[in-house]
Subunit: 308 residues, 2 copies
């Protein structure tokens, strides 16, 4: 059984929320870690409504400081305080977010019950966070203010020792770490059992790229190449290409072109302009360029790497 790796869509509307759609926020889960990607107004209510583990979120990644991507953060932090949180929380964003939050705390005379650790993002391709099983890299977007996407990549896993080999060769615990890394088994009599005979290859590391908001650019194609799942903004349909360009957003066709050129396995589009009530045509347009496309839909859970 592989560890859980999925993203829950809590909001996928562009700048204006509608009565049915919140603006951008996703809850990414990898194993027991929970990451928030952007934090639109209403995030804490969405987390509650969907009975998601609000308190388990320790790292929040904010793509940029347009209101529709971060205005739920002050309320979420206030709620953490009211619930008596004492665990640190790490927030990754372009510069300025600390000032926005701190002036609010100052004026409301709030001293949070926990530490907020701000990490400023100043360039793409930077490793923002890593642990033994996952790393997170910034991706430089092209937008009206400094904006970054996020690339979540599982670490190279170890080889799996076959259960039948363990009993057959009576593999000592002391040799197991080496064997998982690819070493051969050394028997007490000096005999060597080749690694391939006693192990199976590790699962392929999975990856998720979150790209919102951006105008069309090929500058990050290489960085996201081969990603299992690419979330890419597609604010407009193709007939609004001029408006998209002017507002530094992408159309369905542009998002799908990125997916195709980067050779990703699957594309999920979102960040739909509020002018669109019906999303079926979004999907059709994107599929015409990149067939393995899905729509981000509020409330849904999307598995990462399920194609393998």
């Amino acid at each position: 059984m592989r560890v859980q790796f999925n993203t829950r869509i809590l909001g996928c509307s562009a700048a204006l929320p509608t009565s049915l759609r919140h603006t951008t926020v996703q809850l990414l889960r990898h194993d027991s870690s929970h990451f928030l990607l952007d934090c639109a107004e209403g995030t804490q209510m969405q987390l509650r409504r969907l009975k998601l583990p609000l308190m388990k979120i320790d790292r929040i990644f904010i793509s940029h400081l347009h209101g529709d991507h971060y205005l739920g953060l002050p309320g979420l932090l206030f709620t953490y305080h009211l619930l008596g949180r004492d665990k640190d929380i790490h927030i990754y964003s372009p510069p300025g977010l600390d000032k926005i939050i701190e002036i609010q705390n100052e004026i409301s005379r709030l001293r949070p019950s926990f530490e907020v650790i701000y990490h400023e993002i100043n360039k793409g391709g930077e490793v923002l966070y890593s642990d033994s099983s996952l790393s997170v890299e910034s991706i430089e977007m092209e937008h009206r203010i400094p904006t970054y996407g996020f690339l979540f990549r599982e670490s190279e896993a170890e080889r799996n020792i076959r259960k039948d080999s363990i009993s057959r060769y009576n593999i000592p615990v002391s040799q197991m770490p080496g064997i998982k890394k690819g070493d051969d088994l050394k028997m007490p009599g000096g005999q060597i059992i080749p690694n391939e005979k006693i192990t199976t290859p590790p699962s392929k590391p999975r990856s998720y790229a979150f790209c919102s908001d951006t105008g069309y650019t090929e500058s990050y194609l290489e960085q996201i190449a081969g990603t299992d799942l690419l979330y890419h903004e597609a604010t407009f349909m193709a007939d609004k290409a001029e408006i998209a360009k002017e507002k530094t957003h992408c159309t369905t066709i542009e998002a799908a072109t990125i997916a195709k050129k980067a050779g990703v396995k699957k594309l999920m589009i979102g960040h739909y302009s509020a002018r669109y009530k019906e999303l079926g045509s979004f999907l059709k347009e994107a599929e015409s360029v990149f067939p393995n496309t899905i729509l981000a839909r509020e409330g849904e859970l999307v598995e990462i790497g399920s194609e393998e």
Copy 2:
């Protein structure tokens, strides 16, 4: 037919929103004017969900700068900008709100399409706004940071000229304004018709007091005396009186005592702590002191002065 005077409850939870209840916000309507009282996170979505006239709001009254009372404001203003609003918007609040909003605009490089006019509230009993039919006064609350309630009072109306008198005495248009103010009718032959014979008394002006958040205090009893509808916070039930005091909030019994001592016509309680799932007992406790009590319930419209 009297002009519309009512308040729509868009949120009535205390500091923490729950999956069913937003934090404090009400949309007050008087005739064709729409006022927002506080502006909790999610206000713009609530306005949309309930199909309320988002764009008609020209004045927003913020009681105090704790997050649960104003965190929906930045998103609402951002939405106004995106919708191309050009009408000014007036915001009344204790000092500091302009700094909170302006740093956000600066960092997101936003120059709103409309003017925001900030009005600082620095004391109670001050007329914050008035027009020909309504005035709004600040009420000083007792809370951990500067906090004000709001008293909405209709102006004294004019007397109504009886339709049957108009034809009977052939009342000239030129005399009508005077007669509405109480003058007698002067007939062409010099005869005087007493005002009471040709008019009916004006409707009694209606009033609404919005009091959130506050510890128990009798300091504003006189100011709100006789109010048609008093909205008063009742964060806790009576057995939590100690916690209420410590957090400068009121219990059901305290809110009802205020209503009784001020001789208001009707009490509406709200600002329920998230710990309470069921509100029936809130009502019972308050009714034991002040029988004409109702519960604020999300989505409901409450008429002001309907008792007359």
